[in-house]
């Protein structure tokens, strides 16, 4: 396998995992709607570790809430979107992380949204929460993929493109 093929393989796997993870959020209510209560409950309970899952703050699918809230949905979808956009913005072979201030920039809208809501400046909506989460998720993807390339995409100092 050439280095270029390896890099594409790592990207493809990362993309499948990212999109698949986002897909799990919609699969969970779909399983519940289809009557697969055991698997749906197991998935809901697993995601309960990483999200409050309040139905009033979550999007719904087939009449049931997604596995996580609107903000978390935005983050995970953002990671998938970021992975899709990555090859158009950066070279897949790039192993250097972007400048770290970009991660702060990506997190700023969400921080402002949370703080603003907390101190009563505004009442945020599901769309605002998910969009700010989406921005953070896209930013995170641009840090994750170089990491994946360093981990799996290169072998040895003499690896060639």
């Amino acid at each position: 396998m050439t280095q270029a093929e390896r890099v594409k393989q790592v990207y493809a796997v990362s993309l499948i995992v990212g999109v698949g993870w986002a897909g799990l959020l919609w699969l969970t209510p779909h399983l519940l709607a289809a009557g697969h209560y055991l698997s749906a409950t197991a998935l809901y309970q697993s995601f309960a570790l990483v999200c409050h899952q309040r139905p009033e703050r979550s999007f719904h699918w087939h009449g049931f809430p997604l596995a996580v809230c609107a903000r978390c949905t935005g983050v995970y979808v953002g990671i998938a979107v970021g992975l899709l956009l990555y090859p158009f913005v950066r070279d897949l072979r790039e192993r250097e992380f972007p400048a770290r201030h970009w991660l702060v920039v990506a997190a700023l809208p969400m921080l402002l949204d949370v703080v603003g809501q907390g101190i009563g400046w505004w009442q945020n909506t599901a769309i605002a929460r998910s969009l700010t989460g989406l921005v953070l998720g896209v930013g995170v993807a641009f840090f994750l993929l170089p990491g994946m390339m360093t981990l799996f995409g290169w072998r040895g100092a003499r690896a060639r493109a």
Partner: protein, 194 residues
């Protein structure tokens, strides 16, 4: 970019990072912060990466960050799994009753939850599933925390380590070093300060 570093001691960073992830993810109320995208996992992985960076003489890559995150995640996730598995078995009735009380739970779902409550093996299986999947999530996010930790805390990008002294270097070279009083590194040997 620097090549992966060998000879690193992962034990202490993994132990401390893993302890943070595992213990804080099991303490009631404190564990609620995990609802912020598994915060303790990111913090534990990042802390492990920071400790590894501080103990490494050369810049680290995300490979080392992911590795220390993996070790920390295995420790923390393992601890979390054991505690949560035991707790879930005892709390399964309460968890299922809560699931049955959700507005979207229909009669079939409630019947299934009741069947599980009456069957000890099914309860244990559900407890295993919940705690295993949750611990897997903790592990995954801790690995990511380790990688992102390197991105955030490793400031020594692109710096090569100082070259070794040539062979047959006399041990008392350079003469009059370190300087006695006066400015340090005054042009005689040593590396320029950053």
């Amino acid at each position: 970019m620097s090549e992966p570093v060998s000879g690193l001691d992962y034990k202490k960073p993994a132990l401390i990072g893993g302890a943070l992830v595992g213990v804080l993810s099991c303490i009631p109320l404190v564990e609620a912060l995990n609802t912020c995208l598994c915060l303790w996992a990111w913090v534990g992985g990042g802390l492990a990466a920071k400790m590894l960076i501080d103990s490494s003489p050369t810049p680290l890559t995300s490979r080392e960050g992911a590795r220390v995150g993996l070790f920390a995640g295995l420790l923390g996730g393992g601890f979390h799994f054991v505690i949560k598995f035991v707790l879930s078995i005892f709390q399964m009735d309460k968890i299922l009753a809560m699931a049955a009380s959700f507005p979207f739970a229909n009669d079939d779902a409630r019947a299934m939850y009741e069947r599980i409550q009456q069957n000890g093996l099914l309860k244990a299986l559900m407890a295993f599933l919940f705690s295993f999947l949750g611990s897997l999530l903790l592990l995954g996010f801790t690995v990511l925390g380790g990688m992102v930790g390197v991105a955030l805390f490793e400031k020594r990008k692109g710096q090569a380590p100082p070259p070794p002294y040539p062979p047959n270097y006399p041990s008392n070279y350079p003469p009059n070093y370190p300087p006695q009083g006066g400015d340090s590194g005054g042009g005689q040997g040593g590396w320029p300060s950053a």
